[in-house]
């Protein structure tokens, strides 16, 4: 087995492990970081397979922009849910269901 084949095999195994970690991790932010790591490893794989065009695109979009979008969305979602939980404590059950359905609370 040549060195390049060995590298590719190693890379593939690490990628599978990182992918499983991304699915199985409890916190969503960890999943996002593992996904970014997976893209980074895929870049190395594409370079080894002599596809520099795809590697450049994957590096910019896969591990850069998509990760940033996920993180910002996650921050926004966390903000909104913590706000809602604060207000929910003072309401009775009818108003809670009303609010979770998306309606206005009187």
């Amino acid at each position: 087995m040549s060195l390049e084949q060995f590298l590719q095999l190693d890379l593939g195994i690490v990628m599978v492990v990182v992918a499983i970690l991304a699915i199985e991790s409890k916190q969503v932010i960890n999943s996002v970081i593992y996904l970014s790591l997976l893209s980074l490893l895929a870049v190395v794989g594409f370079v080894l397979l002599q596809a520099p065009d795809v590697a450049v695109t994957e590096a910019v979009i896969g591990s850069g922009l998509v990760t940033a979008l996920f993180v910002f969305t996650l921050l926004g979602v966390n903000k909104t849910t913590s706000l809602k939980e604060d207000t929910l404590e003072d309401l009775d059950i009818h108003e809670k269901t009303q609010m979770l359905k998306g309606g206005e609370v009187k």
């Binding site: 520099p52 065009d53 590697a55 450049v56 695109t57 910019v60 979009i61 850069g64 922009l65 940033a68 979008l69 910002f72 969305t73 921050l75 926004g76 903000k79």
Partner: protein
Amino acid sequence: MKKLTAIILVSILFVLLFINMFNGSLNFDKISERDADGNYYTEQPTSANMVTSVVVDYRSFDTLGEVTVLFVSSLGVAFVLGGLTTRVKSNHSQSFILKVGVDVLFSLIILVGAYIFIHGHLTPGGGFPGGALIGAALLLKYVSNDTYRANIKGFKALEGTMGSIYVLLGLLGIVTGSFFLENILDIGTIGNLISGGLIPIIYVLIGLKVGSELTGIFDHFMNEEV
């Protein structure tokens, strides 16, 4: 006035299409696979980077479709998040080092992005990675500075203009009597910076369009409800 312009443009397009149909040259099987004489393009490469020849010359119509997909996704983001106007403020204080470092790196990243899409027909890369790099540079600005706002109206105008010019370049092929998005310019010496006919022009258009589209998407993501 807008309606009138639209009607005139559409009728001109239909007249051109029908002229081509009656001449018998508008054959959808052959679009961007063979030239007007029926030869496959692969016999005569049009740029030093074979992938670019395929993506922007033989399969240029597919690339137009890809650009449209990105446009529709940015339209969807604008549709959902367009009503939000207040800029998101982060809870922690801004890092001074990050801010200064981003100011230094910003122009360099823009330069690399422009290099990638201008040299798309010579080196790996092209319009999409180059445009995404420009979008990433502006994203860094947004992350490092809580009060930063890009000139989104200007970016939207740029995006629309670039997309329209791409389609108009395609229609130019029909006007000159060959296929949609035919490479009508002189190819020149393969390997020079100015060679490949329409390829560098289209890659610059795609790069600017993708960059401004991604900036628009990030600007929408950085807004929140009051």
